[in-house]
Amino acid sequence: MSEQEQVGRVLASEHSSTAEFRVVLDGDNYLQLDDLVLVRTQVPKRGEVRTYGVVTESQGIFEGASFESDTFRIAEEGTLPAEKVRSAQVAVTRVDPELWVAPDPGQMVYRASGDQRDKALYVDEMGRPLPIGIGRDDEPVFADLDFFDGRKGGHMSISGISGVATKTSYALFFLRMLTSRPDIVGDAAANLRVLVFNVKGEDLLWLDKPNRYLDEDAATAWGRLGVPPVPFPSVSFWAPPRRQSGDVVVPDTGGRLEGVDAFAWTPREFIDEGLLRFLFTDASDARNQLAFVEERVRLQLTRWAVDVAGQPGAVVLRQPPTGAWPAGESVTPDQGERVLTDLHSIVDALEELLEPIDGEEPDRAWSGRTQGGTISAFMRRLYSAQHRLGHLIRAGESRRIDRQAAQVTVVGIQSLHDLGQRFVVGALLAETFEEKEHTGQRLPLSVIVLDELNKYAPREGRSPLKEMLIDIAQRGRSLGVLLVGAQQSASRVAQEVLENASIRVAGRLDAAEAERSEYGWMLPSTRARARLLKPGTMVVSQPAIPVPLVLTFPFPAWATRREEVGDEGDPFEDL
């Protein structure tokens, strides 16, 4: 057992309880927020019970002062005798053995370190304790991975104000821990794949580059977590093609072109995977008949689309001889027959079928018995989609995102309109989820990092994207599809998605937001603090520990902007 440092005694003038107690500090010692303490209590007939706790508040008072003006008499004139008393409020984290009695008043309180610290934080009971940050004592804080990777629980939810809450930074830090500690992660580390969406700026396009501002302290902190301070070793970057890139497909990124691949779907893939549905992701779309038309058209497309010989990825719409064209069948287009090579031509083809210009009746096989107004609304959505994400559909060689190319796949959708962002997210989530549904295996794990979750799974309304996210939240755990979702306000995200996250994290919160029931997992003192958290400080709650912990995480070893990219060895350095 490590040496014990006595810091004070359990306050005698107030009731101690099994939930909390106060410590009166020795004159020459201190406790700060988040410090861990231990009290030993002799329980009659049962022997020693150790109560572990975490400091949630620190207090001080001049005993003997009863009027506010006494402050000056005590501290300035020194005429009023008074005793300075410093104390700390402690929330109990654990009672060991599990005999729920309050710690004895007057008992000595020790700073918990070493084994006792592990006990206080339940590290000894964790199946796979993964470091998820650094406590105020500069020691790692752990989470039980069983509660992230699906064994006992899954998913992580991160909330906080944009800019200062460092949600994405924490998500990436967590990923780095997850992908760099196979010794802890175990068999779940094998072939683990991470899909990260870059929704704002280009922060995530430099994950493979060292950060020139990484200093000695940060490197030491990484070392304490058992991870070398180097960038992500295996990352592939993807971005949509530039709109006017013609035959030469160039990724649409501002700062970085090298090492970034452009992605797109061919009309064939668009039709086969039913991506049409992700053009109707506005929450209001589900309220009318649009979903019905979309479903019908989606089905019809799969039946009628047949490959064009010599034009990979392109299709023509031709009534099949029987129910649908057999897979792999290809035809030569007739004279004047429309070849679908992009979203533009798909929309044109659908327009001919659904809203013929010459006033003919629409093809009932495509439109069903839908009102003309609904058809028009459907077409209007397609026109706007064509304008906003038309460049994501193009015939030619497949340019779909290869999620197996690297351990971490970063998909930059920051340049896309909301509609385009939802389309890409929907398409990739569907792909990932269907793949796992198909195998039915939890391993290898597939982790998805998605910021601004409120845009994809808003609390109000329905959309195919929201439903899929709820599905992932509910069933992904057993299928090894794990969501690391981030949002500014948890109160604006679908309840089902939040509820299924076992690990909850918050950075700085808006004062009004912090009072909402979505943050009921915080202690009142933590809530108050959540308004003041500095960037890089997070509150983390996990099922294995009954109180939320405050932790920090080290400065990233990878660059988050072009200016941060460090030298990777200058060939002219020695000249």
Binding site: E77, G78, P81
Partner: protein, 317 residues
């Protein structure tokens, strides 16, 4: 049944609320000991670094009755007192309470020494007085407290530290002890000198006069504060110092008190005895009362101990 009983009555019942320490001014007064004419003198802060305020509190814990079956009953009390000092360290500046002594006494009248059984957690001394008068029992407790205060003052002052004691002093030695008297029952000065007191401003004192009594001492009046809408003697206190100090040292002490005491005078909204009840002394009394412990617990312990011993003696006898 013979023996000692703890009365069920509240200990405060019938206890005199105040015991006057002020003696009659039969002693000769000499108002010409300090040089200069009889006029107001401003205080002088000579920068003394430490000032000690000594005081005590007392309490009746329980009323006793001794019944010897032959000569009727004898009254008694169990009383407690605490004395201590507030040390004002003007270099920091900070005040601390220290040198606390708590004593408990069983006192019986009629010259009978009480034989109190051991009381768990309490140490109770035993004393007797000749009188049967219940008032004298409390007076005895009071004088024991005063003696403890005087002992403490003398001990603290013997190192040369400046001591302000609550109440008159009985000191023959040349020690820097100043008695601080809040109430004025007696006039020491004749009308020609008395008028100056009403004209004193805050922080001013009268010249020193000598009280040539059993314990010869120098004395002076000073004003702590100027309060609106108050008679001319409000905020006036009288101080005294041992005559053995000599007039030169006495002037130093008098100047010092006139400068320092207004600083530590209390405010009306804080203390009903303001401004005479000095802040360090008020806080000291509060701390001492706290140190006397919970009265109900003490009372219960006394009753329990006395009762169980009598029961045991009945069973045993």
């Amino acid at each position: 049944m013979s023996g000692l009983y703890v009365e069920g009555w509240s200990p405060e019942y019938g206890a005199p609320l105040d015991i006057s320490d002020e003696r009659m001014a039969a002693s000769p007064i000499d108002p010409s000991v300090e040089d200069g004419e009889w006029s107001a003198r401003p205080g002088v802060d000579d920068g003394v670094e430490h000032v000690l305020f000594v005081d005590g509190v007392r309490r009746v814990e329980a009323r006793l009755t001794f019944d010897d079956l032959a000569d009727g009953i004898v009254p008694g009390i169990v009383g407690a007192f605490a004395v201590g000092a507030t040390r004002w360290d003007r270099t920091v500046p900070r005040s601390t309470v220290g040198d606390v002594l708590v004593e408990r006494l069983a006192i019986l009248g009629g010259g009978i020494k009480p034989e109190l059984p051991p009381v768990p957690g309490l140490s109770v001394g035993a004393e007797s007085i000749a009188s049967d008068d219940p008032g004298q029992l409390i007076a005895h407790l009071h004088s024991r407290m005063r003696r403890a205060e005087a002992d403490l003052s003398a001990r603290l002052a013997s190192t040369g530290t400046f001591v302000i004691a609550d109440g008159p002093i009985n000191e023959l030695r040349a020690q820097p002890v100043v008695g601080f008297i809040k109430t004025h029952r007696v006039s020491y000065l004749g009308p020609e000198h008395l008028a100056l007191i009403g004209r004193l401003k805050a922080g001013e004192r009268t010249p020193i006069f000598l009280i040539d009594a059993q314990y010869p001492r120098y004395s002076w009046y000073l004003r702590l504060d100027e309060l609106p809408d108050a008679h001319s003697w409000t905020a006036i206190v009288r101080c005294e110092a041992p005559a053995a100090l000599g007039i030169e040292d006495a002037v130093t002490l008098a100047d010092r008190t006139a400068a320092l005491l207004p600083i530590v005078a209390s405010k009306g909204h804080v203390d009903p005895r303001a401004p005479q009840n000095l802040v360090p002394i008020g806080a000291l009394e509060k701390a001492l009362r706290h140190r006397l412990g919970d009265q109900a617990m003490v009372y219960r312990a006394l009753r329990g101990a006395v009762g169980s011993e009598r029961r045991a003696s009945v069973v045993g006898g």
